[in-house]
Amino acid sequence: MSEKVLMKGNEAIAEAAILAGCRYFFGYPITPQTEIAAYMAKKMPKIGGTFLQAESEVSAINMVYGAAGAGARVMTSSSSPGMSLKGEGISYIAGADLPCVIVNIVRGGPGLGGIQPAQSDYFQATKGGGHGDYHLLVLAPNSVQEMVSLTIDAFDLADKYRIPVMLLGDGTLGQMMEPVEFSNDNISHVYEKPWATVGTQKKRKHNIINTLYMSPEELEYTIIERQKKYNSIVQNEIRCETSYLEDAEYVLSAYGTSSRIVETAVHQLRKEGYKAGIIRPITLWPFPSHIYKKAAEHAKAFLSVEMSMGQMVEDIMLAVNGKAPVHFFGRTGGVIPTPAEIVSKVKDIAGGNASE
């Protein structure tokens, strides 16, 4: 076990990426994630890696496409408006089955919105901001330490499944400092990439990285093949943390920053005698539906707490499928819900005063 250091979430992501073997970073500045690029700009030249500030997010994500196609461990990061600009490129990366890591440190939207933390890009991340049938594997850390471990895992998952992995954070997680350890235990695997375009050396047929299929049947075939991969991710990679769930009558659910606030709220509720529990999805896609299904067997009600107008709540409803009412509480635009608001919402629900 190594020493604890005090680090911003954004910097922790950058350091973890380097630990995971990422040597290529392409990005474009945007608040509140600029520290990732700043860290990379400092570190990469020292370790023979590449930091390149692209002229736009569109360009950055396409540099990622090229580098990933050439077999590199590569990352980009941005925040909400910038992520929208990456939508097309992300769809291409998914369609070409290229591995990479994409960080979104979410801020309030729509439009330029604000620079304060939000979770209103959940839909974009999990349902596809880009066009076509595809998925990202979406990881949602809720502490600086987890930003480290999930970043490292993100690179492994990306290579293992040849899939773009998104790390979905928010301004709070990106900007806050917490003690964090970098252990060498979870250093990641090396994956063979015989498909990469690095020159044939005239020793093999040329490799082609491509997303175009003029015959619909062929295109459908690739999509269905990819679906199999998605199925296996659903089988094997779901991550979720629960607490107080055994006897929970009121199941609160949140990810990322809001899950920490929910934690505080649930402590309070338990103190006051409410049987409250927590489901915290760590993978947002694949979504831990089975945990909710199980919890629905004894829960009186669910409550999704989000820093948005309500997005994950739909996935909870899909999982619960009518077995129990699913409520929502959220603040948005950079406003962060308080534990007290959540406690009072749960009391309303318990008292039958909340409309679903």
């Binding site: 604890k4 005090l6 608040t31 709070t172 806050m176 003690p179 920490r260 505080t264 308080t338 534990p339």
Partner: protein
């Protein structure tokens, strides 16, 4: 050292975030669970800057402080903004040289320090943050003086340790003010 929820607030450029980081670091070294959360973005230049430091015996839940135990206020707008959020029985430390009004609440402990004035006497107004940290220590007993001294030394690059000494001097001055 006690568990505390501390908000430090003032103008951008007053070293607010660094002061917060020192406390967080010292607490970390002392084995506490901590989080440090800054306000960020363009409003840091010119506008108000603040940071939230949570020091706790248990893993930190929400890093956002709604009702601080302690408010360290280094300008008037921040006092206006946060005064009423401090918990009953909490503490407010005020830079008297920059804030031209008194704290109106009566259910909190208040410490007034001529932080900027003291800092200027030490040769640099930018040391006011350290003076405030010293005053905070004395007032709350949240840390031992040496813990913070150590934090200062560790959080300043090796090449600039001269600065650390000045910082410590300012901090001690605040402690004794």
């Amino acid at each position: 050292m006690k568990s505390e929820n501390i908000i430090i607030a003032g103008f951008g450029g007053q070293g607010i975030l660094f002061a917060g980081k020192l406390l967080a670091y010292a607490a970390m070294v002392a084995g506490k669970e901590i989080s440090w959360l800054p306000s960020y973005g363009p409003e840091m230049r010119g506008g108000t800057a603040n940071c939230h430091v949570v020091i706790s015996e248990e893993p930190v839940g929400s890093p956002i402080i709604v009702n601080p135990d302690v408010l360290i206020s280094m300008n008037r707008p921040s006092l206006d903004k946060f005064e009423n959020s401090v918990i009953e029985g909490g503490t407010i430390v005020v830079d008297k040289s920059l804030i031209d009004r008194k704290v109106t609440r009566t259910d909190v402990r208040v410490k007034y320090v001529e932080a900027t004035k003291i800092a200027m006497e030490l040769g640099n107004a930018a040391l006011a943050n350290m003076v405030m940290v010293g005053a905070f220590l004395k007032e709350t007993g949240a840390f031992i003086l040496d813990e913070i001294k150590d934090a200062i030394v560790k959080n300043i690059p090796k090449t600039k340790q001269a600065l650390a000494e000045i910082d410590i001097k300012a901090m001690v001055a605040g402690y004794n003010a």
